[in-house]
């Protein structure tokens, strides 16, 4: 039998924060987590968080997990690969996988922070290998760096569906489409824009009808639905994919709470069945607290705040210290975080347990796009989400998120020096920079970029629109690397395109041959043209292009059109090169034999 003052079940953001606050006040704490490392869902989150600096805004999830672990002190014991399997009146039973044995813990207080599990949905063959939870795919690719497929279909467009889609692209996979049964995307607009500008199709009012395949997924059938979410016959579309990600929501893991006599209520706005709790995260059972996704599906920042509130309240009960000020200030933080339109559901759900307070925020968007010709940021963040790193990162105070973090950011172009810090800090990747007429006929666009390969200075890339459509060619004029991996790529685009270009595609150049005989690639030709070999004859001498066995019949036309594109000249203006016999390789032997024939 192990004795502890506090048992924390689950070492995700909620449980860790509870343990941090309690142990800081000297409470002997034991954290049990069934995973192989602490951090819960955070360890697989590679994107930067929203929120404000006090709660790790603009820090990537897995980094947050590390920082939280570092805050645990000597009063904390950690047991990994240990599942809490039962809670009885006087004792808690744990199962340790490593020793393959159960043991008992007696705790004065219990904080349940067990998180949630992924909602499973019903469609034909949904049990086939290849149908995976979106969080599961995220675990494999971001925690273990293994991709369980090449081409994915994402079902669900909430934040998880959008984020995991983006992360799949980062890992080098393809996302065939995101399907969403509702008539609008569920997640944040800034997350949506991140995937849209890579051309990922979003199919609204669509759902998955069946997975195809015998041993594993080889495809998926998607169908349109009517107002009652019923499939419309004849609208089926088939996708050739080798994995299907289900991102249709999470369900709180209430089992332990329920067996501990905590009142479970049905609150659909919070994710279904959730335990009752008050503002201090205390349940109806005096010494049992809950926090995080278990208390209602939300996100990691609110999970951390709830965990802290629970930890402080427990410490207050045990040590009799007065921590009411700290608790109250965190409760106010929660009110702020939940003030925006995206938290409306959560507010409604929570109002079943205790009254909700509202705070005001500004809905006024930035309308001014700044002085033409100045290098300046353009903020494309139009939804009231709880986030303000743009404001706090700007060294000159040019960006303001007025009143509260749910307000829309506004920029004072007079104060802005064009340093670009806000562009790389914004977790929504929603800030770009533009400058008109950097050169005769050219504008500059700066985009935040988190993909590989990173282009090189001087490289030509394909400029893409907000929808991922090809717009024009652009030249990379500068690449600014940042230690937190959101790099800034400066693109020179033809005049007038600065308002449209928001992304680019690196041209795939490996093994793209123009001349097969001499094995000359497109990249080599483009580089040579940039070096100043600007007509066919020069290229031929430099690269041996057209000097192979086919006598240039395969490559001559291609080279001329590449020259024409690259130099902006019409094909007529270009020298077509000399034509010399023979047009087909003819052996000297044959020629000699022929000559002797004539004799």
């Amino acid at each position: 039998m192990v004795r502890t003052q506090l048992l924390v079940v689950g070492g995700g953001p909620a449980g860790l924060c509870g343990a941090i606050e309690a142990s800081r006040r000297g409470v002997e704490t034991l954290i049990a987590d069934e995973g192989v490392e602490l951090g819960g869902q955070l360890v697989k989150q590679t994107h930067k968080f929203f929120g404000h600096e006090g709660f790790f805004a603009s820090v990537r999830g897995f980094e947050i997990a590390k920082r939280l672990k570092d805050q645990l002190n000597e009063h904390v014991k950690i047991m990994l690969q240990t599942t809490v399997v039962g809670i009885y009146e006087d004792v808690v039973v744990l199962y340790d996988r490593q020793s393959d044995a159960t043991f008992e813990v007696q705790a004065d207080y219990i904080l349940l922070a067990t998180g949630a599990s992924e909602r499973f949905i019903q469609f034909e063959n949904n049990d086939l290998p290849g149908v995976y939870g979106a969080g599961a795919v995220q675990t494999l690719m971001n925690q273990f760096m293994v991709l369980p497929g090449k081409r994915f279909l994402m079902v669900g467009s909430g934040n998880i569906g959008l984020i995991v889609s983006y992360q799949l692209l980062q890992a080098g996979a393809e996302v065939a489409a995101i399907v969403e049964i509702a008539d609008k995307v569920g997640g944040y607009d800034v997350h949506l824009r991140k995937v849209k500008r890579f051309g990922v199709p979003i199919l609204l009012r669509h759902t998955i009808e069946k997975a195809l395949g015998k041993e594993r997924v080889t495809g998926a059938v998607v169908v349109q639905v009517d107002e009652n979410f019923q499939p419309i016959e004849g609208t089926e579309k088939e996708f050739a994919v080798d994995a299907i990600c289900i991102a249709t929501g999470l369900v709180p893991s209430v089992e332990l709470a329920a067996m501990a006599n905590v009142k479970i209520e049905y609150v659909p706005e919070l994710g279904g069945f959730v335990p009752y709790r008050d503002q201090n995260m205390r349940t109806n059972v005096e010494n049992i607290f809950i926090a995080g996704d278990l208390s209602g599906i939300e996100e990691a920042t609110t999970a951390m705040i709830e965990g802290r509130i629970a930890g402080l309240t427990i410490a207050q009960s045990i040590t009799k210290m007065d921590l009411s000020k700290e608790i109250e200030s965190l409760q106010n933080e929660l009110v702020e975080f939940r003030a925006g339109p995206f938290s409306e559901k959560v507010r409604k759900g929570l109002s079943k347990f205790f009254p909700q307070r509202l705070v005001e925020y500004s809905r006024e968007p930035q309308t001014d796009t700044g002085p033409i010709g100045k290098l300046r940021p353009i903020i494309e963040c139009y939804e009231n989400i709880p986030c303000n790193p743009c404001q706090t990162s700007c060294p000159t105070g040019a960006i303001e998120v007025p009143k509260n973090i749910n307000s829309l950011p506004r920029i004072d172009y007079e104060k802005c020096t064009g340093c670009g810090i806000c562009v790389s800090k914004c977790p929504g990747l929603a800030i770009f920079m533009v400058q008109e007429n950097v050169e005769q006929g050219f504008d500059l666009v700066v985009v935040p970029y988190e993909m590989l390969p990173l282009p090189e200075k001087g490289e030509r890339v394909v400029a893409l629109s907000r929808d991922g459509k090809q717009l024009c060619e652009a030249q990379v004029v500068k690449v600014v690397r940042f230690p937190h991996m959101t790099n800034l790529v400066h693109l020179k685009v033809p005049s007038g395109f600065a308002t449209q270009v928001r992304n680019f595609r690196v041209k795939k150049r490996e093994n793209v041959f123009v001349c097969k005989c001499e094995e000359v690639t497109l990249e080599e030709i483009e580089k040579a043209i940039d070096l100043g070999f600007t007509d066919y004859e020069e290229l031929r001498r430099y690269l041996r292009i057209g000097m192979g066995m086919c006598g240039g019949r395969t490559c001559r036309a291609s080279v001329l059109s590449i020259l024409s594109r690259r130099l902006g000249k019409s094909p007529e203006e270009l020298l077509k090169g000399h034509f010399r016999p023979p047009i087909m390789p003819t052996k000297f032997e044959s020629i000699l034999r022929g000559e002797s024939n004539e004799v």
Binding site: E34, G35, V36, T46, R60, Q81, T83, R97, S117, E118, F120, D127, L128, P129, G130, V131, Y132, G133, G135, A136, V137, T139, L140, M141, N142, Q143, F144, M145, V146, L147, P148, Q170, A171, G172, K214, E215, R216, S253, E450, M451, L452, L454, M485
Partner: protein, 102 residues
């Protein structure tokens, strides 16, 4: 190849390899990863069969759904998504509920 070799944000944590056996065949895994991750990396998606004889793979990868039960070193019903792979481990597909020893 299912391993992500280059990533814009993440760095590889371990390059030390361990050997394990899947259905008697020797495979390579990276130290610290789960059996499920190692199998997927080796191109194995089918972890077993259900009672009805349908193929089974993982689903949640965090120990919640029990979709990934396999026989590990003779022990049935092991959730391989939260079981770290070890040198010499013997992993087998599980058919149905296997011999449960509750």
């Amino acid at each position: 190849m299912r391993r992500i070799l280059e990533h814009p944000i993440l760095k590889r944590r371990s390059t030390r390899t361990v050997k394990f056996y899947f259905e008697g065949k020797e495979l390579e895994a990276l130290e610290g990863e789960t059996v499920a991750a190692a199998l997927i990396a080796n191109g194995i998606d089918v972890f077993g069969e259900t009672e009805r004889g349908r193929p089974k793979g993982f689903f949640c990868a965090i120990g919640k759904c029990s979709s990934c039960l396999m026989i590990v070193d003779g022990e049935p019903n092991v959730r391989v998504c939260i079981t770290p792979v070890k040198e010499g481990m013997k992993v087998q597909r599980q058919f149905g509920r296997s011999d449960v020893s509750w």
